[in-house]
Amino acid sequence: MPSGEAKRRRSPAVEPDYLAALPPEIVDNIISRLGIRDVVRTSILSHAWRRRWQSVRGLDLDFRSSDPAAAISSVLKRSAAPVRTVTLRVPRRWFHRAVRWLRLLPRKRVQSLHLYFEMISIIEGKHNLDPSIFSCLELSSLSLAGCIFPPPPPPPPSFVGFLKLTKLSLSEIELPPHGERQLEAMIAASPLLLELSLDNVYSIDDHSERWFVRGANLRSLRIWTIDQDFGCRIGELPRLEDALIFLDSEVTTQVLCKTLEGIAHVERLEFNALMHHQFSDNPPERFSFTFQNLRSLHLHACLDQISSTSLVFSILRCAPNLEKLEIEVDRDDDEVDAGSVEGFANAQTSGDIFPRLRYVWLHSIDFSSNEICFIQFVLSKARSLELFYVRVSSCRLSYQEACIEMAKYKRASPLARLRFIRG
């Protein structure tokens, strides 16, 4: 078979090629639905397919950390058509290569970009993100993790904002000096932004500037900070529906109240109600605003601490339309303030609390006296209750005893069903 020069082997020539019968746009569409590995594999299907994948629009280039760096480089360079997604997981030793990869992206008109840089320890510095991401103007979804946010490129060309951005997720990001202002401007300049997530975004300065999150269309907000108040404050968010706010436990009461006021119109809220009682005064008994639309509330609290319990009650008093309540008990220290719940429960004088509450979940309960008091309180007040679900982490009572105990409590709602689960 092989002669002086290499010869092309042909499969039985009579068989037609099924895919050749399809119009090329359709085949491109099919290829664009495949994962990147399958896409690259098509290059060795036959001679005609060698470069075909490179001109397919809308590919999802989802690279893993196990892919060889050379392969990532070559695939990034060769994909000439606009791509839909680029996901890069960059280990430390490829940080310098990542700079080159990022510079290839603006040309590709990427719509969805996810960059995850490896973080080994807090001590080692984070990677400086290349400012070429600001040239990816087609971005509708951006996720960054583990890097230092770049300062904007010097004008010209000045960077206004990602005009098509709908989702922004920053995680473990270090802001440069005055980076808060820049971030604020960037968020405000993305008019279509729907979801914003700031997980442990911090500034290297000890004293962060105050900046405001603003978004005319923002529906979902997630803020998670530890060890530092990084200056983020809630600004104008008229369309907000969903919020997850985990502030550092050392924020002042004033900041806490202001934050809650800014998100008072949400429908679903998950909130960290664990406060360090040494550093903050107790929150007011009643807030000056109400959570008018709040249907679903998920609190992380410790019912054995007065500071946390008071916050829980303050919020509950101001949520008249609450339908679903979930409390996850989180004990970070073993201090128990006896009678913390009792005080609040008994102080609840006028007004209806929980008029519409239907579902209650309590997690990690271990039946301390405060928790029992809380359960009794809720059961006695919730007239519309349908389901009360308790998940126990460790319990001094046996299962039967606990069931019997709970069954004894006075219930305001005849329909209420109690469920009691271990573990």
Binding site: R10, L19, I44, E118
Partner: protein
């Protein structure tokens, strides 16, 4: 009587106004009422209508003319309604005539055909399809089998009352046909501009291609296997800045020259050489790292044996430092550290990767240089082939697609960014 007509003050049922026949819904619609007059039921209905009319004529009173009203007694009403129902539900359906490129003509209910945009346009704009002689000419790509499948699809989906679940379930069963038929169906649906069906079939074809090796894909789609032997065995130029790989590339190039020389001599010897080629290829795949998966002990041992064979053959061609490099090469996966590097004692690959080699800077260019293009092509193809040698990867494909979370745990402690490690 169930007609919903109340008696008036005189106790008589008010006369029913015989409404004039409804105007045709579409002025351009050709009146094509195929009345199967042989239907006995219809004949009875027609007779009933005739009787009804006769009766009403006889009971017409010569009162002042009140327009086109015919007085009907209630039992006559009943017969009238029955007549209407029979006629409308059965015989008065419109049919559309469609003609395929090969001349065969098919008849289909109008509402089914109208679900298809291209046919709908033909009916509305050109008025064709109303009779056998004026059948709508379908595009070339629509063959009779595809047409009947498409019409089945339209017939199911044009019914408005179906639930999403029903539709999905129908769709899933619908695409369980052999690949050739599926491709033809896609082509036909595209020429008829039936976008939902094009999407459905494209997705099905993508699912077929997903996860298969190129040999399998060629087999399924009857693609010609026309990559030359030479193309398949091209050396991997500069795919890695690792000198150990370059060493092997040099060895490989020499081997290839040998192959070409021997090809000129005898066929039999060429066969043997090809066997050697393959073993070298496997070695390269192994050495270049197959994703740290190893494929289990059996394959590892097999590869080690082959390596030792190679060892013994090539001592005269080895580089000045054969022993160290080749020993180290045994366990070098030059991809990012995953948990699977159990066989790598030395981590010197990290050091190597960090050093910048001069030709790396050349990568900064856009790759317009044809030699660079070729190199990139080789890298991509090598990546593709490497993907093929990784069998366990196929099994992990499903799991890896699902793993997408990159959220940090919310318990207040600083954690290493976890999403990164999922790959």
């Amino acid at each position: 009587m169930g007609c919903g007509i109340d008696k008036d003050s005189t106790g008589r049922v008010p006369p029913f106004r015989f409404a004039s026949p409804k105007p045709q819904a579409h002025p351009h619609q050709p009146k094509n009422h195929n009345l199967p007059l042989s239907s006995p039921l219809l004949a009875a209905g027609a007779a009933a209508a005739a009787v009804t009319v006769a009766f009403s004529l006889s009971s017409l009173s010569f009162s002042p003319p009140r327009g086109e009203t015919i007085v009907l007694q209630p039992y006559q009403l009943f017969i009238w309604f029955q007549f209407n129902f029979i006629v409308n539900s059965q015989a008065l359906k419109s049919y559309i005539w469609l003609q395929c490129f090969d001349g065969s003509i098919q008849q289909v209910e109008e509402e089914v055909a109208m679900f298809c945009p291209m046919i709908c346009r033909e009916i509305v704009k050109n008025g064709t399809g109303s009779s056998k002689n004026h059948a709508i000419a379908l595009p070339e790509r629509v063959n009779p089998t595809s047409l009947s499948l498409i019409l089945d699809y339209c017939r199911f989906h044009q019914v408005p009352g179906r639930s999403n679940k029903e539709r999905k379930s129908f769709d899933e069963k619908f695409v369980r046909i052999d690949t050739e038929r599926l491709c033809e169906l896609t082509s036909a649906a595209d020429s008829l501009q039936l976008k939902p069906l094009v999407d459905l079939t494209s997705r099905a074809l993508a699912r077929i291609i997903e996860g298969k090796t190129p040999e399998e894909i060629r087999d399924i789609f009857h693609l010609p296997d026309d990559l030359t032997e030479e193309e398949k065995l091209e050396p991997l130029k500069n795919i890695n800045d690792d000198p150990r790989i370059r060493l092997l590339n040099r060895l490989y190039a020499k081997k290839r020259k040998e192959l070409q020389e021997r090809q000129k001599l005898k066929d039999v010897q060429v066969q043997e050489e090809q066997k050697d080629e393959r073993s070298l290829d496997e070695i390269l795949c192994f050495i270049n790292g197959d994703g740290g998966s190893g494929g289990g002990k059996a394959s590892k041992n097999k590869k080690k044996n082959k390596r030792r064979k190679d060892h013994s053959k090539n001592p005269p061609k080895a580089n000045p430092e054969p022993v160290n490099k080749e020993e180290a090469t045994r366990g070098v996966p030059f991809n990012a550290g995953t948990g699977n590097i159990s066989r790598t004692p030395c981590q010197s690959s990290d050091v190597q990767d960090d050093v910048e080699y001069p030709f790396e800077d050349a990568d900064l260019d856009d790759g317009l240089d044809p030699a660079m293009q070729e190199e990139l092509d080789r890298e991509v193809e090598d990546f593709a082939r490497r993907l093929n040698s990784v069998w366990p990867e196929r099994m992990h494909l499903g799991q890896e697609r699902r793993i997408e979370s990159h959220m940090i745990g919310g318990n207040g402690s600083l954690q290493r960014f976890s999403g990164f490690n999922h790959r």
